[in-house]
Amino acid sequence: MYVAVKGGEQAIANAHRWMADRRRGDRNQPEIDVEQVREQLGLAVDRVMAEASLHDPGLAALALKQASGDLTEAVFLLRAYRTTLPRLADSVPLRTADMRVERRISATFKDVPGGQVLGPTYDYTHRLLDFMLLAEGECPAPARAEVALEACPQVLDSLDAEGLIEQEVDDGAMPYDITRDPPDFPVDRATRLQMLARGDEGYLLALGYSTQRGYGRNHPFSGEIRQGAVEVEIEVEGFDGPLCIGEIIISECQMINQFGGSREKAPQFTRGYGLAFGRNERKTMAMALVDRSLRAEELGEPVESPAQQPEFVLAHADNVEASGFVSHLKLPHYVDFQSELELLRRLRREHAARDGGGTADEVESARAHEMDAGLKDTTASAPLSAPSSELPSESSSESSSAPSSAPSAPRRSQETSA
């Protein structure tokens, strides 16, 4: 008898319970604490915050724990939570030039005002597994400079003074908000940057990489990469200046790219820009490459490569959307599949009938017959004199009852025109 293959409430509850057990793992091991995740898996926390568009290391750590370390799942959890939050204020634009820098490098000048600051990085580590980490041990505190870092003006500003690099101008327009408004392609650069900032790191990395390998090359130099704390300020009625409501750590990357120019306009370097919450250097570099490649049309470059096509790049950058739509293939599609099965079986029978060398009349009669047969495979007869080897195997064993003879046999299917 027919056993329902449909899952009920109990199955779902049990699945979640089992998943929670998996997440907890061996009970002889201490349970991981959200504070530990936040403090010791900080780069994962930062990535989750960046792609979720919510700066909250504690909640990002909770999401990571809840998701058993699945980054995309954690991003989704935090994103879904973010949606429920009221918007109390908009910040004034962050002043990254005033960043309290902990890392700041430029690949374009040997020395820059403020100096090169390596800061905390894995860059020059030899990637050898450190078995010492298997044991518990004290970690020495970082070395500290005697004097505080002097002010670090943006490297690109020094080029700006000479007119060597295109100027970014704030036209004062209220930026489009991708978290509130639906995308309306083509979108402006501010909107593109918002979409890239929450885009999947792996995806942006691959696209950025593709530009380096020649698919939309834009000759990048890392003008400046900086990480550190910036103040977040809001305007409050009754106060003259903006009020600082806290500090966040961000990463910023400014790429200097190939120059354009024309008879009318002197050649200038162009820019690509990347910004993300937390310590997300790889992400911001990739973002800057892609930002620049998406400016191809604006800068009069031929649009030939995937990374230069805004709709393609932006519509597929969000990993919450992407993973949702890919994973929805796990949902039942019985009905659509049944519809395809019905058609495919019919087409295969017709194909077999044609291959069997039937005359036009016979083929037409077969078609009429198949129309009648609908999905009823088990009684569908193999019409005509087709050699059985040519027929789909399901038909070959069928009884050879006479095919429907009338080419104009009335079709069972209904028509819509009402």
Partner: protein, 286 residues
Amino acid sequence: MNTSGQDSQYSGYNFAYLDEQTKRMIRRALLKAVAIPGYQVPFGGREMPMPYGWGTGGMQLTASILGANDVLKVIDQGADDTTNAVSIRTFFERVAHVETTTRTEAASVIQTRHRIPEKALSKGQILVYQVPIPEPLRFIEPSEEETRVMHALEEYGVMHVKLYEDIARHGHIATTYAYPVKVDERYVMDPSPIPKFDNPKLNMSDALMLFGAGREKRLYAIPPYTRVKSLDFEDHPFEIQAWDTPCELCGATDSFLDEVITDDQGGRMFVCSDTDYCQNRREEVA
């Protein structure tokens, strides 16, 4: 399943999860959609606590129109007990505390994925469809910029060319679900991946039909008593699937049947995909 621990996760959210401003924004978009049948209205889709592609568009629409006195039915593949239908129904039970039902005629709002109930809907009922890709021209023209212009100019020739190419190649129109329709003689619309078997039910329906695509942030509507025509040709008229066998459980000959594999010898049976319809018929017989 309703343990207190799980329920506490759902406390603190607004009625039907979305905040009132968001609901208002969606209702405004819905009014526009009703005013322009078949036109895809962009809306500020929000993240829902379910994955995109799993019905977030339909859920946002349902959340926006649901009132405390509504009775909700949720189906997936025509069935009330498929896992995702269960999950969505449970969600609204917890965040809106509305009454739910499996009976088509008892529901004031029905959220569906891939089917229209067999029992004719009546005046006052609202059918909310979950839509994966709202753009019927998407697989002919991938760019949104382009398709928007095509809709504006009523440039639908490519769709007929596609259907014609099917006929030239296969002898039939090879689209069996998400079969494109023309709404009120103006917009070509994707009816969501319902089987074409259900397309005739779209025409002059007594019920209001709302379509929500969460990931794509588009919604559209077919108001009651709107002409909806499935695209076809004079010499290849639109036709729907038909079965030679009745439902093996209830004997229905007028319903969409799911094929169920019963053994590894090629055995199979056909049963109604609409579980409520099937159940009712069996009860009538009993």
